[in-house]
């Protein structure tokens, strides 16, 4: 569900008010505010930049600069399910490359891309801290370790069943 812009503005206004409880908003609250917006909306709408700049007494360029510096922040609506495959050395040593090819093939989706129906996105991630039980992936918020192609297929099948139950 994509909230309309009035709704988005209201949500962002609430978040700003919540973070300004101890006096005026200092720039150090910018990352916590951006996190709160993304937690709520799934991404940071580009048209929110101007309002944020005003609230923090920063230029739009400064706010835009912060949002685009950090890999974590998204500026477009996310896919229903984001799969992140760890690309770091420990996972590479345990077949991370082969796992990535399998995931990409199974989802029908390249790295940094969405499936055409918007149900899956495939992204790289650099270390999930599961290096002793590599390779690791993250599906939405859940980390999975010692992932083989077979285990990945099972995880996705489970996910699809859940989605059908909800629908």
């Amino acid at each position: 569900m994509k909230p309309d812009s009035t709704e988005t503005r209201r949500i962002i206004g609430d978040i700003l008010a919540l973070h300004a409880h101890e006096g005026p908003l200092g720039q150090d609250m910018l990352l916590p505010v951006l996190h709160a917006i993304q937690d709520r909306l799934g991404f940071i709408p580009p048209d929110a930049v101007e309002g944020l700049a005003q609230s923090f007494n920063l230029s739009r360029a400064e706010v835009h600069g912060v949002i685009t510096f950090y890999h974590y922040y998204k500026t477009t609506p996310p896919a229903r399910c984001t799969v992140q495959v760890c690309r770091a050395e420990a996972c590479q040593s345990m077949g991370g490359d082969a796992l990535l090819s399998h995931v990409s093939h199974a989802l029908g989706c390249d790295l940094h891309a969405h499936t055409p129906d918007g149900s899956f996105a495939l992204e790289p991630v650099y270390c999930l801290g599961q290096c002793a039980t590599a390779p690791a992936i993250m599906i939405n918020d859940a980390v999975h370790a010692r992932v083989t192609p077979q285990r990945f297929d099972k995880l996705v099948a489970k996910l699809s069943t859940k989605a059908e139950e909800v629908a």
Binding site: D28, L31, H35, E89, C91, M94, V125, C127, C131, A132
Partner: protein
């Protein structure tokens, strides 16, 4: 009487299905009418055994390794809840497992034993004794104790913690800060994560002691966004400690204040660099600052700031509790105390191994690690994260000691070890090091920003066999520029994995072995 069963809630165990195991145990116990007390403990660090379920018995805890939810009914059938260890997953007493029994657990003494979120459990296992000692001391005396312990920064740079603290103690400033660098982005490291998830109070206690030592009343823990469980555990523990009067306006009745806050990163590796991290807390792009000024004099918001790694701060409580000499008695040379080795990658028994400095890499990989996971010969190990050197077999008898590694043009760093078997292509890994630097560079200095992209191109040409001898010379020259011209370790140390791969494994770059080694 109900039987107490432990199922870890550490993210390594969760990633292997620990939640499913826990709920299977609950429902199976209910179905059989067996009263159980299920505790979600942290991890013991024996990650190769996760999920590691432990059953409390009068003799100690009996372990069951690699438990899957499908094993639970059979475990009950075999009477595991009565302390029977006949099931095929039974490991006997956990404390007797050689991997654990042969460690020296100082910083990680409580991990896996206690309920991470229970303050009572923490205090029952020696927690907050260090702080209670510290509140009776002057700041200068606390700093002197940490200096005398020989503790060096566990984040990688190995700078003496006491010297850093002393600079902050003596620096003028209206508001001093303690900042914990918990942006553990290096592949092959997870010790910070284990502390935060499995024993968060020890970090909080260490930071509080640091605050008392240098006169700082505010602290920040900067945790990477990839660690949601660590963030949740810390926030919970901070609330508990605040309610108990161990944080806040009057720390443990000392009349001195210390407040603590978690800040979440946003997926930028460079924010593990201390000045980029400070910029990030200030709400800016994580761009590296030029030094001087040192953060100790002009750090967060321009004020004197102690910035330490999780493990450095988590080592402080035991030093205050048992004394500097106790800690100093472990280790070798100028590397005092213990190092939490993190054994990862293509290794049979990966996990956390806390040991006094001085053990060799080979002992770690074979005696503890049990050799490669694939069963193939081990080819190379990278020590110290993505910016650490690759070591060939001829260097595996090196003891874990900061100076011994430096003498080999390698870095011990934070003690993260990633093992690669003989299927590894070292030229490809060298290319990856450059590629990673290109993705994660903050862009402030040219050697790192441009050098890493050129590095990928040059290695691609070497791998394709295009003008190979010239490209190898070019790669060495480029690495020399990055090493000497970069503003921070990101560009300055990327040459370590690249050149060590080239020097020790020239055949993977299409070079004749022994070629170019002199350069």
């Amino acid at each position: 009487m109900s039987v107490r069963i432990h199922v870890p809630a550490d993210s390594a165990a969760l990633a292997l299905g620990a939640d499913d195991v826990a709920s299977a145990i609950r429902s199976e116990a209910a179905r059989r009418g067996i009263a159980i007390d299920l505790v979600r403990n942290g991890t013991r660090g024996l990650l190769y055994l996760e999920p590691l379920v432990e059953v409390e018995t009068p003799d100690g805890r009996i372990g069951f390794g690699n438990v899957d939810e499908s094993d639970v009914a059979a475990l009950f059938d075999a009477g595991f809840h009565d302390g029977e260890s006949t099931h095929r997953l039974a490991l006997g007493l956990v404390e007797d497992i050689p991997y654990l029994a042969r460690q020296t657990r100082l910083t990680f003494a409580r991990c896996g034993i206690t309920d991470p979120l229970s303050l009572a459990d923490y205090e029952a296992h020696g927690g907050y004794r260090g702080l209670r000692q510290a509140v009776t001391m002057t700041g200068a005396d606390i700093v002197a104790a940490v200096t005398a312990s020989g503790l060096r920064g566990r984040g990688g740079a190995a700078f003496h913690t006491g010297i850093k603290w002393n600079t902050v103690l003596r620096a003028p400033g209206y508001q001093k800060y303690i900042v914990c660098n918990a942006d553990e982005g290096d592949s092959g490291t997870f010790a910070d994560r284990i502390v935060m998830e499995s024993d968060p109070f020890v970090l909080i206690e260490g930071m509080t002691i640091a605050g008392l030592a240098v006169g700082a009343t505010r602290g920040f823990i900067y945790v990477r966004s990839e660690y949601p469980h660590a963030i949740a555990a810390l926030n919970h523990a901070i609330q508990t400690a605040t309610r108990a009067g161990l944080l806040g306006a009057n720390v443990a009745g000392s009349g001195r204040a210390f407040e603590l806050e978690v800040r979440k990163g946003a997926g930028a590796y460079i924010c593990g660099e201390e000045t980029a991290l400070l910029e990030s807390i200030e709400g800016k792009r994580g761009v590296v600052r030029a030094k001087p000024p040192l953060p100790a004099l002009a750090g967060l918001f321009g004020q004197p700031t102690v910035i330490n790694n999780v493990l450095s701060l988590a080592s402080v409580p035991v030093i205050l509790d048992k004394g500097a000499q106790f800690y100093q008695d472990f280790g070798m040379g100028r590397s005092r105390g213990t190092l939490p080795v993190q054994l990862a990658g293509n290794i049979k028994n990966g996990g956390l191994i806390e040991l006094a400095f001085g053990v060799t890499l080979r002992e770690i990989m074979y005696d503890y690690g049990g050799g490669s996971a694939s069963g193939r010969p081990i080819k190379a190990v990278q020590v110290g994260g993505p910016l650490g050197a690759y070591l060939p077999p001829s260097q595996w008898d090196t003891p874990l000691d900061y100076e011994a590694f430096a003498a080999l043009w390698a870095v011990l760093g934070h003690g993260g070890i990633v093992v690669h078997d003989d299927s590894a292509d070292m030229a490809k890994l060298a290319r990856y090091a450059m590629e990673f630097c290109a993705v994660e560079s903050c862009g402030k200095c040219t050697p790192c920003r441009i050098g890493s992209t050129r590095g990928v191109e040059v290695i691609d040409k070497i791998r394709a066999g295009t003008e190979r001898p010239q490209q190898v010379i070019l790669l060495r020259s480029l690495c020399d520029t990055m090493l000497n011209g970069s503003l921070c370790a990101m560009g300055g140390m990327t040459p370590y994995p690249v050149l060590s791969a080239l020097n020790h494994f020239p055949q993977d770059f299409g070079q004749v072995a022994g070629d170019e080694l002199a350069a």
